[in-house]
Symmetry: C2
Subunit: 210 residues, 2 copies
């Protein structure tokens, strides 16, 4: 089983690492980080590069694809090499997945037409515009398409998918080894829970990044 | 404000990325990934390399240090270049922090003597042996030393520290932008909550990795 995690300039690191850490120990799995060209790929801040060991051209039949998001929505939606690769490999994947605004790439590639899907809460209107039926749920399955909400939701997406593939006890061991017993110091992780003035700050910041 | 995240061969990726994603937007902060030598550093699986942009020799006065853990405890405890660097920079840090078994490096460097600290649940006895006073808490502050429990606890550690440094509203915005509203599909994230036979599997696996 090959798990391919796609990288592109200005992706968000935790979007990629949450599913990586929770999926990589699937029995018989080999994980590969992949990008248009092999080599270091800088994230949204420019202060961290993850190395893509293979190019898109070298990874043609992954079983599982993971697309992380990033703050600049056009980085995903208008990334033709990424969209072409997603369309090509989706023909043979068992699971096609995304975290955060990675779902905008899946939708822009035409893979979520009419499907239930999620994204970062700030990107749900764009997801609808691209033909998906957005929901505010944290992890959404529609057939083989699995989408997670913003950034940290990739951990929940990965654990849920690991359980579907390898059974609940496998996923529970992953949860225990990663000590995933979350205790956030605040209760502001969704726009419904956060104070309205902070939701407004996030909306302004996101507009500035587009 | 400079935040230095230390890398070494066989670190755990999520240990480093959780604090990175939650601390990097601190006002005026510059984050740098650092290792004995600049260049790609492979994680525990060998399937992912993060790039250290600077060597230990180039980063001498960070304000915040973060040490991630990894499954092989000797990778941290017996890593003399890492321990030497930690002792040197700790003289001028504002905060010296760790995630998971990264605390074994802080303790082996002599920085946690008699201090309250935490680590991955499987490593708490080793942390005591190295002179710290271990607790099972998820995030532990003792003076300027901040330690997080296993792997995913780095997100809670980073958010808590971000709130201390830049105020609660800053940290809440980080939580909202990373949509950190966790919904684990299982309740097996600590040895107290997981079924006993899965705790035993993790203990066996950890022994095999030492």
């Amino acid at each position: 089983m090959q798990i391919a995690i796609a990288l592109y300039e200005r992706f968000t690191s935790l979007d990629a690492i949450g599913p990586y850490q929770t999926l990589k120990s699937l029995p018989g799995a080999e994980t590969v980080f992949v990008a248009e060209q092999a080599g270091p790929v800088r994230d949204e801040s420019g202060t961290l590069a993850l190395v893509a060991d293979k190019s898109f051209a070298e990874v043609r039949r992954p079983d599982i694809v993971v697309v992380p998001g990033g703050p600049g929505q056009s980085d995903q939606m208008e990334n033709e090499p990424l969209l072409d690769w997603l369309r090509a490999v989706d023909a043979t994947t068992t699971w096609t997945t995304s975290v955060c605004t990675g779902s905008l790439a899946l939708a822009a590639a035409g893979l979520l037409e009419g499907r239930r899907a999620t994204s970062h809460w700030l990107a749900l209107p764009e997801l609808d515009r691209l033909g998906a039926r957005s929901t505010g749920e944290r992890v959404v399955f529609d057939g083989k398409y699995v989408t997670g909400a913003g950034v940290s939701a990739g951990i929940d997406m990965g654990l849920t998918l690991a359980g579907k593939i390898a059974g609940d006890d496998h996923a529970r061991v992953v949860q225990l080894m990663t000590e995933y017993d979350p205790q956030p110091p605040y209760d502001a992780g969704s726009p419904e829970k956060a104070p309205a003035h902070l939701v407004a700050i996030c909306r302004d910041r996101s507009r500035a990044e587009q």
